[in-house]
């Protein structure tokens, strides 16, 4: 099959490198990066007591610096549950299982905020999502999904983001599609959004049926994308057009 032999992108290239100087400047300065509105909220959530235990994130984890490196490893295989979790799912597991609180709504501002705050602790660290050990079959399923043609346009992720990355679709440059800045502030959204939202945009773009927000396939795809971004550093909260 032609697609199978097409080489993966040689050097991973962050969307940051292809953004305009103005957009890069917005990301570079923490006092002007709008993503920090969510980071600030996330920091407040970190110290908020709640749930049946009345505990805050800080009560168990201490300083947020303890989270350094965590976001770089997610999605990661969870031994207790026996499958991988995204960072958002892992945070919500702590909410429900450890704090005795309700899970934050997917895509809601609170979940974006705490994820951005935890993500920021790993900013500058190399992406380190593991495809090995028990994560292997999930990684392979993610890779299969990445290579699967979808939607009425019958396009796979790979066709755009490996084969045609760096070329243009209408006025826009096609990026390699790396997940190293999420949750991130998109000018198009005029707000913060998750990797799930970005993937949903892509799939809507090829006129396909988006994954459900709690779909295990989505986690596998995010896991594959994380491994594929090895060599890049975490940029959370990134800014993209």
């Amino acid at each position: 099959m032609l697609l199978a032999i097409s080489a993966a992108a040689a050097e991973p290239r962050s969307g940051y490198q292809d953004a305009s100087p103005a957009t890069r400047a917005m990301q570079d300065d923490d006092t002007t990066n709008p993503g920090f509105l969510w980071v600030q909220q996330g920091e407040a959530i970190w110290h908020e007591h709640g749930g049946t235990t009345g505990k805050s994130c800080a009560d168990c984890h201490g300083d947020a610096a303890a989270m350094r490196g965590v976001a770089a490893r997610y999605p990661a295989y969870n031994v207790t549950l026996g499958h991988p979790l995204t960072l958002e799912q892992r945070i919500n597991l702590s909410r429900t299982a450890d704090q005795g609180a309700e899970a934050f709504a997917p895509e809601g501002d609170t979940l974006l905020a705490i994820t951005a705050f935890v993500g920021l602790q790993s900013r500058g660290m190399p992406m380190a999502v593991s495809p090995d050990g028990p994560a292997r079959p999930y990684y392979e399923n993610g890779q299969r999904l990445f290579q699967t043609r979808m939607g009425q346009l019958n396009l796979s992720c790979q066709q755009c983001h490996d084969d045609f990355a760096g070329k243009r679709l209408a006025g826009a440059l096609i990026p390699q599609g790396h997940p190293n800045g999420y949750p991130l502030y998109r000018l198009e959204w005029q707000g913060m959004g998750s990797l799930y939202r970005r993937i949903r945009n892509c799939i809507t773009g090829v006129r396909g049926e988006p994954f459900a927000v709690d779909s295990p396939d989505l986690v596998d795809l995010e896991l594959f994308l994380g491994v594929r971004a090895t060599g890049l550093v975490v940029e959370t909260p990134a800014v993209r057009p």
């Binding site: 953004a19 305009s20 100087p21 103005a22 957009t23 400047a25 917005m26 709008p34 679709l169 209408a170 006025g171 826009a172 000018l187 198009e188 959204w189 005029q190 939202r197 949903r200 945009n201 892509c202 809507t204 773009g205 057009p241």
Partner: protein, 140 residues
Amino acid sequence: MTVPRRQVLVAAAGAVLLSPASATETQVAALIKELVGDATLREGRVKLDIPLLVENGNAVPITVSVDGPNRVRSLHVFAERNPLPNVANFYFGPRAGPAKVSTRMRLATSQTVVAVAKLADGSCWMDRIELIVTLAACVE
């Protein structure tokens, strides 16, 4: 008197074109005229900084600054092809430092952005920049 068919069609087309789907150069010119009054509007002194090639019109960084020793009373920014012509007015108080302000604006499409400065000595200055807005693919 009968009006030739062609003339009617031209008039109808004109009416469609004139319906204000967006601001116009004329509208912006009228607003500036109102602002400046009898003073002469000259190019210079005020400087508009905007990227010439905008990758997303939702949040375009813009900086307006004024050179020279004269105190600046106010700065005004207009967009000629946005749905509405006004962008922002800045009024400088007694505690203000150098007249340099930055914000982020929306640009509906490729167009000209105009900045006008009113100085304390009554003089009025302007700058204008024509810029291109590219549209993203695969938008939500």
